[in-house]
């Protein structure tokens, strides 16, 4: 998937070490997934 993004011209791509599970284990905040996020609606861009 990351390679697909790279092929699409995105060079500043970085993976999160440990994924969501490590993020969760550190007690950092999460938010609920709304149904639209699993469909076609693009989600907000994080700032």
């Amino acid at each position: 998937m990351a390679l697909l993004l790279w092929k699409a011209g995105m060079r500043r791509v970085r993976p999160l070490e440990g994924g969501i599970e490590e993020w969760r284990s550190l007690g950092y905040p999460l938010e609920p997934v709304v149904a639209a996020a699993l469909e076609d609606e693009p989600g907000p861009i994080a700032t």
């Binding site: 990351a2 995105m10 993976p15 969501i20 609920p32 861009i45």
Partner: protein, 268 residues
């Protein structure tokens, strides 16, 4: 292909069995040309259709059973191994996950016709908890459809295939070697590019602590959740502001993100 014909004439079903078993065991060579050439020999009266399909399907099921048992015992490590063998590892697992989510066990009926999908479908079936009897039933049906189709095509287009074989024969051994060299360079370049990408990608990983600081700061970043839809639905949570992208949306939605923006990917 000429060599295949020669080997098939000399060793018959034993060669078909060994070759198909080898392919299903993970050697990255196609079995389809062998079945096509076998079809031409059946047309010429050398072998029986039923015996060929039975032998090839049995070898395919036997090879698949090895991956099925490995998938049951080792789970995702088997998928990682198969990804190393695949030339398109970035799409093969996701493609199979989607096919399984959509079609379940029926994926085994057609997966052998799709490169990449064939390789990972069997361990994925095992990891989905499919009972052995169900796997054997669907895999036997799928293997029979696959071998039967190519043998039937070989029988139907025997003359055309023979013309191709004759043409290749006229080109001689030199042309075959040049073709093999090009194929080797193509595979080598593809593997090297992937190895380099994975190496660079590992180096650039970001720690959760650093990401949290970035999220609290002013720099604009784009967070993308790469987990499979099923896993996201099961979890119900994501990182703050993360976008959920499906694998097939990468190209179409890549325009949404400015090229200079940092993109952080995460999965489970």
């Amino acid at each position: 292909m000429t060599l295949l014909r020669h080997l098939l004439l000399r060793h018959g079903h034993l060669f078909v069995f060994a070759y198909v078993l080898m392919v299903q065991a993970g050697i990255p060579v196609p079995a389809d040309p062998l079945l096509l050439v076998m079809g031409t020999l059946i047309r010429e009266g050398y072998y029986s259709t039923l015996a060929t399909v039975v032998v090839a399907a049995t070898a395919a099921v036997l090879g698949d059973s090895i991956w099925f048992e490995l998938g049951r015992r080792r789970g995702s490590s088997v998928l990682r191994l198969l990804c190393r063998l695949s030339l398109e590892p970035d799409t093969c697992v996701r493609q199979s996950e989607n096919a399984f989510a959509k079609n379940g066990a029926r994926t085994l009926l057609f997966c052998k016709f799709i490169p990449g999908l064939s390789l990972v479908s069997v361990p994925m079936a095992a990891m989905s908890g499919m009972p052995r009897w169900r796997f054997l039933l669907f895999d036997l049906a799928g293997s029979t459809i696959w071998t039967g189709t190519y043998v039937a095509l070989g029988i139907m287009f025997a003359k055309e295939i023979q013309r191709v074989l004759d043409f290749i024969g006229q080109l001689g051994r030199g042309a075959g070697l040049v073709l093999l060299a090009f194929l080797g360079i193509y595979v080598g370049v593809k593997w090297f590019r992937r190895w380099k990408f994975v190496h660079d990608f590992r180096v650039k990983r970001i720690r959760p602590e650093a990401l949290r600081e970035m999220l609290n700061g002013t720099e604009k970043i784009c967070l993308i959740d790469l987990r499979h839809e099923r896993d996201i639905e099961r979890d119900g949570m994501k990182l703050p502001g993360a976008q959920v992208w499906k694998a097939d949306e990468v190209r179409s939605r890549s325009g949404e993100i400015p090229r200079d923006q940092e993109i952080i990917l995460y999965c489970s």
